[in-house]
Symmetry: D2
Subunit: 133 residues, 4 copies
């Protein structure tokens, strides 16, 4: 059961090939992860105040069909694997016609931001992530 977040494609997201620029899919995936955490009750600006952030450690992205200007996409978020200091997400982007546009595995690590050192994911977040997966 994945979390869903809608994303509209604007001019800023596209490139001269007439489609969404490949790097900008990472924005869409990141927005959906942020909204997923928010839906569990966690605001990342509050996390930042306690010097804690989730940073991306690895991405694998498949680009299957090119998303186009003005498309209305759905971005999904599912927890694939939860470790002490990291989360592996499985994410998909689906367009308004139900086509699978892109698929990704994104590994994020919980860090102490000023030291850029991995730390254990706060317990209340782990608890909610387990409940949601």
């Amino acid at each position: 059961m994945a979390f869903n977040f809608p994303v509209r494609v604007y001019y800023e997201d596209t490139d001269a090939g007439g489609v969404v620029y490949h790097g900008n899919y990472l924005n869409f995936y990141e927005r959906a992860r942020t909204e997923f955490l928010r839906s569990l009750g966690f605001e990342q600006d509050v996390l930042l105040e306690s010097d804690t952030a989730f940073v991306v450690r690895r991405c694998e992205i498949d680009y299957l069909i090119a998303a186009k200007f003005n498309d209305y996409l759905t971005v999904t978020v599912a927890v694939k694997q939860l470790k002490r200091a990291s989360i592996a997400f499985h994410q998909q982007i689906i367009d308004q016609n139900g086509n699978l546009i892109s698929e990704a595995t994104v590994i994020v690590v919980c860090v102490n931001l000023s030291k850029m050192k991995p730390i254990a994911i706060p317990e209340n977040i782990t608890k909610e992530l387990l409940r949601a997966s």
Copy 2:
């Protein structure tokens, strides 16, 4: 006598209209201002360490001709007016054929970043800006 900085247009800079996305000209202008300051001996990461930054207060941008994918542009920087805490820059973007692509006036303010309060521009920077203008 303006400072010049070259900028190549990559896919990331363009949009589905086939030309450079209007918001991205601000990136080009900002890169040139950063390189102008560097040419005077000032590195903005060093400034940041002393909690000092130049933030943009106002932009006026005219878009005259659309820059295209793969264009090789020249961005100019000239100091138009220097005040105690702010600098007004006049900037232009010219393409490889000598066409004037865009023109801008950008006002930046020197701030204490954590308080977001205007402060006097450091004296050594003012001195070099006067020498360069």
Copy 3:
């Protein structure tokens, strides 16, 4: 009576100064104009198919307060002046606490995209713009 569109600030929108990167406000303003046109019944991908686009000719932007990561902004759109081939918009960005973050005048021109020549704004659009202003 202005049109309103909400924008959430994500990591992608911010910079190392800890606030929204000044160039990205143009994205927020553009999204709101796109949604304003959509609210009047006009989809810009359909316009593109008939080789018609609105391109930005001039922007004046004032940056009053820095928007921050995770802010939930409201972007307004009002038609300031309507000419045969161009529209002057007045736009504002307001944060979740009612603070005026930024203000802009944006002039867009209706063009034949492949020729990049100004053309009259399609009559049905002019009609709706007049009704909305």
Copy 4:
């Protein structure tokens, strides 16, 4: 023997975490691939005129150390595997102190852009890619 391309980190590339936004590494990798093709004599705007483009099919990116504002990076490009219609690149990003910042495998497919269908890579490009690898 890899191709090298320098990239300066500007404000536009960073985020509120104080480091380069993870999605923007894809810009750096793409710029280097574009310059690699240019170094072999191929301009992508010329390719576009014949309705041919290289589109990204898959990316695997490891983020090892966070690149910071004002860093001066070197992006490498090496051909890992060359097929009839696709190229697998191995790329690295190294900072001014010789640290490996990020590593990626990027698979691009040669397509007829208006049909978005894979086509054989033009023979003159294949020839130069073989010579360069």
